[in-house]
């Protein structure tokens, strides 16, 4: 984080630019050291099939144009996005209900906490049993993995809405449902986005585990299959793409926060 106490004068700005340049150099050097270390260790001590940067780099162009891989990546991405969309809608509605209604809170809180604490992959064998070894099992796993962090965060957000907002809405005779969606929901959006950020990470893990267990085609299965057939470098490209999805979701949510909720970060920084 940038320290906000810094005085804004030209000299300081120049210093800042120089520091940003230094940081980039330091990062590039660190990256080079990590890659070289990895390459050397694997070359000296591991069998030829073990993934190392040089072979991974050579595998990247090959894998990225492979239609089978693209289909797998699309399948996983579609499953994750679809599951997250379902979890977002369901989780927001349940979260708002828990946050604003004492009765719903008391009825559901226990179950939300239990399922939130449950390591989600223990239920994947059960989902495989219920939904078969199909994409449906992956979708349900993604929803299950992500919905509870959205519920918990939205409920926290709905509870934290300043009482005055709700009272003003009521004095203007807003219907309860309107005040829920027009006042409480926007006010708890920062919490919603924080929950979504957590949910995206959990959804990706859920999708990969579901593919490992059910052998549904996707990046997870692509990684499993290739590493079992001694194509580790190809498999590692799959990991890189997954990491890209993870970082991508993260920056998308961060961008949304900055774009649509600029007041949120400013408030927090003050």
């Amino acid at each position: 984080m940038v320290d906000s106490t810094m005085p804004v004068d030209p000299a300081a700005a120049v210093g800042k630019n120089a520091r940003a340049g230094d940081a980039l150099v330091a990062r590039l050097i660190a990256g080079a050291v990590i890659l070289c270390g990895w390459e050397i260790v694997v070359r000296l001590s591991a069998p030829a099939f073990v993934a190392k940067p040089s072979t991974i780099a050579m595998a990247i162009p090959r894998v990225l144009v492979d239609p089978a891989f693209l289909a797998s990546a699309a399948a996983t991405l579609a499953g994750v996005v679809e599951g997250l969309a379902i979890a977002l809608v369901v989780g927001t509605i349940i979260g708002l209900a828990i946050g604003r209604s004492r009765l719903v809170d008391v009825t559901l809180r226990l179950y939300v906490n239990i399922f939130y604490a449950l390591p989600m992959l223990v239920v994947v064998p059960l989902f495989a049993l219920w939904f078969g070894y199909t994409g449906a099992a992956r979708l349900v796993t993604v929803v299950f993995a992500s919905v509870f962090s959205i519920i918990v965060n939205v409920a926290d957000g709905a509870r934290a809405v300043p009482q005055e907002y709700v009272e003003v809405a009521r004095s203007f005779r807003a219907a309860p449902l309107r005040s829920l969606f027009d006042v409480v929901l926007p006010a708890s959006t920062p919490y919603l986005l924080a929950g979504l950020r957590l949910a995206a990470g959990r959804a990706l893990i859920g999708a990969v585990v579901a593919e490992f267990i059910t052998a549904v085609s996707g990046i997870g299965y692509f990684i499993l299959y290739n590493s079992r057939t001694y194509h580790e470098s190809e498999a590692f490209v799959g990991v890189l793409v997954l990491a890209g999805f993870g970082v991508g979701f993260d920056s998308l949510v961060g961008w949304c926060t900055r774009r649509f909720l600029p007041w949120y970060r400013r408030d927090r920084g003050a």
């Binding site: 990062r27 992959l121 223990v122 001694y230």
Partner: protein, 257 residues
């Protein structure tokens, strides 16, 4: 909120009764739906408890739970020790922090399960690769939060300590650690949950034993009762560990101003 005339017993009843009712309602629903559906898909609560009792009396459950607990504890402690130590070093040595930050963020965002096939082919079936999996799941939240905590130390604090001629050791003991620990606790709480996921993942996909194996073999043998029994046990462990994590975090939270 509440009338102060109510006795403590009534207060506790009022506080816990709704949750007890909700639990009873949920279990009743499970029982009813379970009785109506095919035993291959869903068994009622009573059957799950019977199966749980069988596993408990037979000794399988205790043995597998201990097995899992050993794996969890080793990997978790390792991730806490390494995470805090590396976090403090990164916090103190700015060059390292700046240089490594993006790589740590990338690793934090990578779904660690995807690395399991590589760990398997490199290290095979054994205790060490499983510990590595649990460690990898847990270490990044600890590392990340420790660094964040150490960054929250005001530079003035360090300067004041310096002006009073604090040595490097006193600086760590009196400024760095007390300021960082509450943040590290948040990372530790997150790590508890993630290590539990790592533990089950390691037992699913590396050498099978422990509670993960119980779940896998139950699902492969269409022993739905056993499956639900094992999931129930992991559920209880998860809730217990999560409470422990929150208790730990709030124990240190008052240090954070």
């Amino acid at each position: 909120m509440r009338e102060s005339s109510g006795s403590a017993a009534a207060y506790h009843l009022g506080r816990h009764l709704p949750f007890a009712l909700s639990l009873a309602g949920g279990l009743a629903l499970w029982e009813l739906v379970g009785r109506e559906s095919s035993p291959a898909f869903l068994v009622p609560f009573s059957t799950t408890m019977e199966r749980l009792w069988e596993l408990l009396v037979g000794g399988t459950l205790v043995a597998e739970t201990l097995d899992s607990a050993g794996l969890f504890a080793t990997g978790f402690l390792l991730s806490v020790v390494v995470g805090i130590a590396a976090g403090l070093v990164l916090a103190r040595v700015q060059v390292l922090r700046v240089a490594l930050e993006p790589y740590i963020m990338i690793l934090y965002a990578t779904p660690m399960v995807a690395l399991i096939p590589f760990i398997l082919s490199l290290m095979g079936f054994g205790f060490i690769p499983k510990v590595l999996v649990v460690f990898l799941f847990g270490v990044f939240p600890v590392l990340y939060n420790t660094v964040e905590g150490a960054r929250s130390i005001k530079p003035e604090m360090l300067e004041v300590a310096r002006s009073f001629r604090s040595g490097e050791r006193a600086l760590w003991r009196d400024v760095m650690l007390p300021y960082t620990l509450p943040f590290a606790m948040t990372g530790i709480r997150l790590a508890i949950g993630r290590c539990l996921v790592g533990m089950v993942a390691a037992e699913f996909f590396l050498s099978s034993n422990g509670l993960g194996q119980l779940i896998m073999s139950a699902s492969q043998n269409f022993d739905t009762g056993g499956l639900f029994a094992a999931i129930t046990v992991i559920c209880l462990i998860g809730v217990g560990l999560m409470r422990l994590g929150f208790a730990l975090e709030s124990r240190f939270a008052h240090w954070r101003k």
